[in-house]
């Protein structure tokens, strides 16, 4: 069974600084997708970034980038130039052939002005 582990329940970052959120996963599948979702207090789950396992190049979306280490089954999210609006719960998620998402337990990110 697929499992997703986020070992940092809470993280904080100064505004304009950089923070990295960690995620590891376990799977026996070779073809899969990894995602980072953001869930602000409004509860709406918002897709931040995705990574296809077959791609060696790390995905980047503006201030958000990932460090995908397939052999280590690691998928961390780096947020650069942190903004107050980045404060939220961040969930790492895995999707394999079953087409449903497996989520980690989340990391609460606080941005300090």
């Amino acid at each position: 069974a697929q499992t997703v582990t986020q070992s940092q329940p809470e993280m904080s970052v100064q505004e304009a600084e950089t923070v990295t959120l960690s995620c590891t996963y376990d799977t026996s599948e070779s073809d899969y997708y990894l995602f980072w979702y953001k869930q602000p207090p409004s509860r709406q789950m918002i897709l931040v970034i995705r990574q296809e396992a077959y791609k060696q190049q790390n995905a980047t979306e503006n201030r958000f980038s990932v460090n995908f280490q397939k052999a280590a089954k690691s998928f961390s999210l780096k947020i650069s130039d942190s903004q107050l609006g980045d404060a939220a719960m961040y969930f790492c998620a895995y999707r394999g052939g079953a087409n449903n998402l497996f989520f980690g337990t989340g990391t609460r990110l606080t941005v300090i002005p």
């Binding site: 997703v4 509860r43 709406q44 897709l47 296809e52 087409n99 449903n100 998402l101 497996f102 337990t105």
Partner: protein, 114 residues
């Protein structure tokens, strides 16, 4: 372009009762998935509907059932409610033929069972 919508926003029920939650997918999407998010946890997959049939199911009892209508909207039904069913219920829609099956989430329904 309307996103995923869910109703109601909040709901309070008593143990043993039955509840129905509703979801309308994002325009152009044909697949609906339901997730349960307990307080302080990540969402857990309940089931997925495509072409009006349940295609996949997570580790949830038969008390959880669903339906998809011809317009792709969906309902989640929970019978014989338990206190442990209190959670945020999230609906996500996707377009099955897209390689990434990227799922877009609704704002959720907060269910409280007393």
């Amino acid at each position: 372009d309307a996103g995923v919508t869910q109703s109601p926003t909040h709901l309070i029920k008593t143990r043993g009762q039955q509840v129905t939650l509703r979801c309308s997918p994002k325009s152009g999407h044909d697949t609906v998935s339901w997730y349960q998010q307990a307080l302080g946890q990540g969402p857990q997959f309940i089931f997925q509907y495509y072409e009006e049939e349940e295609r996949q199911r997570g580790n949830f009892p038969d008390r959880f059932s669903g339906h998809q209508f011809p317009n792709y909207s969906s309902e989640l039904n929970v019978n014989a409610l338990l206190l442990g069913d209190s959670a945020l219920y999230l609906c996500a829609s996707s377009y099955r033929d897209r390689p990434t099956y990227e799922q877009y989430f609704g704002p959720g329904t907060r269910l409280t069972v007393t």
